[in-house]
């Protein structure tokens, strides 16, 4: 399919991000010395080259989903991965922010891994609630992605001077609530961040948004603010989520929040439909609402550059 529109280039960052809301399939993130910026995935491969370090986010591949909103979620994941593989400047690694599968079935995990493994990139994942609905919740996910993680699969790592934290907010959810991190994970996070200097750029990724986007649809995390308090002292914090299958971004002080598109199906904007869930659009429109996200990190700048790229131009 065609690449993102050229007219996205050269506009202000804010303008570009607004455009991307309509364009994205995935998000390419660039870290520019601390503050994230999102760049158009393919068109902005150059931007990643300029910064020297970028990584890629994909989300909500929902392998196993076969309803009218997208009868072949494996094919659109394949297209997204194809875009990643075509980047002239390969990202350092890829993160998947959950809902790898639709029903946590072994063959769904296997099919997803087969396609994602098509690009030779290190993969860091966090689970979505759809990855934890097997008979013993999380057994399949943790057998594949749980190595070296704590609890239900949370962990951190460092790359190019950036501290990355993968959090799990889809487990042990309480009636009437939203996403949840839980006391154990928050204690671990406090400890994990404890040794880091304020100037360390931090990227946090989790499935459900850590801030409340729309509580009526469960689009938030009950104790997300506890985590954000621990992150407040850092000069550059980027919070990357999935779950809502559309791009929503906000900047608050030194924190940038961004949600990625799904590679499987879109969901309605908050409050615009009776309920969240798969949104069926005309077949020719589907790929304009799916995408990937790139992030570029530039030494010496606070913001990371975030680029969302659709599978097809609108």
């Amino acid at each position: 399919m065609s690449k993102r529109e050229d007219d996205e280039r050269g506009v202000s960052r804010r303008g570009a991000l607004e455009c991307m809301v309509w364009a994205g399939t995935g998000v390419l993130w660039t870290l520019s010395g601390g503050i994230p910026k999102s760049l158009g995935l393919l068109g902005d491969a150059e931007a990643a080259e300029a910064t020297g370090f970028s990584f890629l986010q994909i989300s909500d591949s929902h392998i196993g989903f076969n309803k009218p909103a997208n009868p072949n979620a494996l094919a659109t994941l394949q297209e997204a991965i194809g875009k990643v593989g075509a980047l002239s400047s390969p990202p350092a690694f890829m993160i998947h922010t959950g809902d790898i599968t639709h029903l946590s079935k072994p063959d769904e995990f296997d099919n997803a891994a087969g396609v994602i493994g098509g690009v030779k990139l290190a993969l860091h994942t966090v689970p979505g609630e759809h990855d934890f609905v097997d008979e013993v919740p999380g057994q399949q996910y943790l057998a594949r992605y749980g190595k070296g993680t704590k609890g239900a699969g949370w962990y951190s790592f460092d790359d190019h001077g950036v501290h990355f934290v993968g959090l799990v907010n889809v487990v042990d959810l309480k009636a009437g609530g939203l996403g949840r991190l839980g006391a154990d994970q928050l204690a671990w996070l406090a400890d994990d961040l404890g040794g880091k200097s304020d100037s360390t750029p931090v990227v946090v990724f989790a499935h459900i948004p850590l801030w409340t986007i729309y509580a009526d649809w469960g689009w938030g995390t009950d104790d997300g603010t506890e985590a954000l308090k621990l992150l407040k002292r850092f000069g550059s914090v980027t919070v990357l989520n999935g779950h809502i299958h559309q791009i929503v971004q906000k900047v608050e002080g030194n924190m940038t929040f961004h949600t990625a598109r799904s590679t499987a199906f879109p969901q309605p904007a908050p409050g615009t439909a009776p309920a969240p869930g798969p949104m069926t659009v005309p077949a020719e429109k589907l790929r304009t609402l799916l995408g990937i996200t790139g992030v570029a990190v530039k030494v010496g700048e606070r913001a990371l550059a975030i680029t969302d790229t659709a599978l097809a131009s609108a």
Binding site: P68, L103, V133, E135, L173, G176, A215
Partner: protein, 119 residues
């Protein structure tokens, strides 16, 4: 490329036949009226419908998922929990003790419902 939705195998509704029959017989003996049938809760648009269902003790409640997204029916404190219910799947449970049972969707916890069991 556009593959139609494949046919689904019918869901299994677990209901001990003996227990159901006993309930039917007891119902006839006690009231002389027709035995109460199973009662159902529809899951649609991320809500339980009806949100509160009142049933006499001994009744089996059947939940059916009409959404394109799976849901998990779970008692608030973990006393029961269905498997992931894909579109069209059902979960059933018999309620024998009077009282109020609060439940929710374990993966969409803002979805809540109640079964009020009368003696």
């Amino acid at each position: 490329m556009m593959i139609g939705i494949s046919g689904r195998s019918p869901s299994r509704v677990r209901r001990p036949a003996g227990v159901a029959l006993a309930a039917v017989v007891a119902g006839f003996m006690a009231t002389g009226a027709a035995a109460a049938a199973d009662m159902s809760v529809k899951i649609a648009n991320f809500t339980f419908d009806p949100p509160t269902l009142t049933v006499p003790a001994g009744i089996t409640v059947i939940w059916t998922n009409d959404d394109d997204i799976p849901h998990v029916v779970a008692e608030k404190d973990g006393k029961f929990r269905s498997k992931a219910l894909d579109t069209g799947d059902t979960f059933s449970r018999q309620f024998t003790v009077a009282g109020t049972v609060e439940y929710y969707c374990a993966i969409h916890p803002h979805m809540t419902g109640k079964i009020v069991v009368t003696p």
